[in-house]
Amino acid sequence: MASLFANLTGPKKRQKTAGRERNSAHDGFLRHAGYRWLKIFVLICLVSIASYFWIDVQPRHNGGSWYGYTLGTIGALLILWLTMLGLRKRAMTAGSWSLKAWTSAHVYLGLSLIVIGTLHTGFQLGWNIHTLAYALMMIVIISGMFGIYLYATQPQKLSSNREEMTETQMIEALRSFDRQLHDAAQPLEPEHAALVQGSLEQDPFSGGFFKRITGKYPGCKTRYAIAELRRARTYAPRTDDNPTEKVEQLLERKEDTMWRLRKHLQIKAMLQVWLYIHVPMTFALIAALSAHIVSVFFYW
């Protein structure tokens, strides 16, 4: 386990050395406090699974036995507590109940819900509100796992892509290229000027979610302008001082910057997109959970 997560979660824990405080500031939330919550997760799973087989529920395991109610209550309280991370994360603190500790617990207790929730069902699933709540819970957990994976892999890509450029610098670079292009394109023929104008007018942050997440922008006018100008130049007589050539070079440099920007946007989208499932589904889950609990007592 340790080696599996080692390269995902930052530097390994330092060996204990005499006279030095162990510094865990750079430990990721997955390995917080020597995998404390991972251990608790494993313990919860073992206890749940063992008790499931040890306790004989007649006629068979189901959510309505005393054991089922126990697991269900634990699961429901866990879900509510896990949701509290949304409030808790707005206040960063240190210490043993630091935000990192809280996040670590959120991740591992959230994973343990797979076991607790599934055993609560007694593997009796159907087209009903109870299974809907279970399915939503699994969607939330799986989206969370996807989020962990992204948090473990994407930040590195993000930093290597931007090469120390800040987001402000990226947009300033584009503005600079646009100004230069505008000036350089003044002598161009109307149809070539229109190509450049197209590039200038296009919002570099345009494109819907799908373009963001894939990083593919088939309607990119800058790339189109480059291609068109290059083709025009191929058939035009060669002159020493062709303004098109300069424009073309500027467009290419702009496109480079655009590519980097779009990669940046793609990675940032990846880091955010799972939350667009995780958070709304959490609330859908809490609604379904409420309906599940009310329905059980309503038709008691």
């Binding site: 189901n62 005393w66 987001e167 505008h182 007018e201 570099p204 667009y276 958070v279 609330f283 008691w300």
Partner: protein
Amino acid sequence: MEHEAGKGGMSFIVRQIALKSDGSEIVRAENHVQDEILVGRSSENQIHLPDLAVNPVHASITRDDDGKVQVQSVSDLKFELNGRSVSKGTIDPARGGELRFGGHVIAVGKDAETSGIVCTVRRVEALSDSAEEKDQAKIYSLTGKLPSKRLSAWGFVILVLAACLAWPIYTWATYRGVEERPDKFHADTMWSSGKLSLAHQSLKDDCQACHVDAFVSVRDNACLTCHTEDAHEHAPTDRQLVSRGELKGFAKFRRNVAITFNKPPGRCVECHTEHEGAGAMQPTAQQFCAECHDGMDTRLTDTKLLNAADFGDSHPQFRPAVMTKPGGDNPPTRRISLDDNPTEDNGLKFPHNLHLSKTGGVAQMGRRLAGKYGFGASLECKDCHTPDNDNVRFQPVDMEKNCSMCHSLAFDEIGGTFRQLPHGKPDLVRADLRAYFRSTRPNRPINLGSRGNSNNPRRRPGDVNAARTASDYARAVRFRPTRAAQAIRAVFSRGGACYDCHGVTQPTSRSGLNYGIMPVSQTDRYMHKGWFSHKAHNDESCESCHVAATSGKASDLLLPGISTCRECHGGEASSSDVPSSCAMCHDYHADEGAPWLIRNQNKPKTISAPDKKAAPRGQTEKVARRQGGVRNDRSGG
């Protein structure tokens, strides 16, 4: 583009407005005294618009004789006049107008002092999109690219609560007190936690059939609405609670929690759990019975029931209901343990040993009649005992059907037809015998000559002999009817046809003939509290359980004891040939029929039970093996 200045005195004042970085304006004005000025991207134009959306020479502006300003596109691109896209247009300078080329606006008006045309040029659009103001926190995130998390979260919450909570509650409220719901989708069925058992399939769309009141657990009267006949109490609830004993520890805690949550104990649904899949109700597990019946006499001290916990090692000897006096529709019975070697007087005399003997007169007679009745080398049980319709028990032995093959009641032959004494009707027997002797003559002596040949009597010589014979015969004829009394006495007395099998009551007076037959009753079922099916034991011979071959008296009770059963049957968890839970012979809601376990086994298996866990372990499989795979015909009801 040369234009002569001063001609006609027309002048255009072009004012270019630029913005400084602090937002203040710089105005640069040029005066052009000429008829026509040109607008375009090229710097040679009088109005130079450094705008890539504008053609090098885009349009011309002239002033006509009326003082109106004419604007005309000189390229193939249009421009906007007062917001409309045109290639040509007129502006009254007194009223003013606005031209737009690409990202630039030219306001056309009249200079009040010189009455020249003023063109005020201003860039109104950033030269590129990126140059515009951007909210970095927003553009670098997915904000606006996807529905906001808050919005979709609330959307889902409302959707789920409406569809899965409000709608079902509305359905419940709509159908309160309605006898039967219409056949359509009902929203509260989405609350069902699983399929109903097979028996309750018809209720699957009618949640309120059982869940009558909101937040009130399913009560017994919901069950009893339909189960009017078959859900009688196992025992009075208070006695059940006493025999169950005080709950201890965790069980007590669970009971208290259940009561706190408004689930009173002892309801039907505690055992009859529902929504566990479309199987059949599982037979009661042994442990469930044993919870009360194991050591019950220590708790329920006045019980007549004996303790039982496991058929193999903790079950009392059978106590069949033995008939104490034959006769009547319901002869009195008493339950006597087989350990006390009970006997039963059924009013008959019948030595089983004599009839089952392989040698002797009975066997010999059987062999003689083998061709007619299919007997074997000696008589067997089946020759006299006929199973009932369900093969569970036996029909009562019937004289005409089962005895008369050998024990004939014929007394007369007329033209090849035998007349029989009527069985079971002593009065008719007497009447028949009297009628017989009244209507028949004694055999005519041969010396008087037979009836057909009276002219040729064979007689001894001498009239005296003839006269004596005649007078003897005459006396015999005269007294013939009185012979009936003798015959009646004989048939009811030792050696007579009735007396052989029946107890006979003597006449009330010495000379009387009103003999009676003691009442006969045959017990068809001895074990009323348990179930036994002969059909389920077809593979066994009769003798393996019933010791009939050595029984010399009809009063011998030939029932096997529990030890015989235990040769094959053990408790639910035993390693015997047939592990048997209580439910194999007993039912919680017992009636005269077979227990639920047996009935359930005999049902056609349309939907296989999802889980055999609750059935006594290995029981059904082993039974099936013992019966050579024939399982569905184990018994009837």
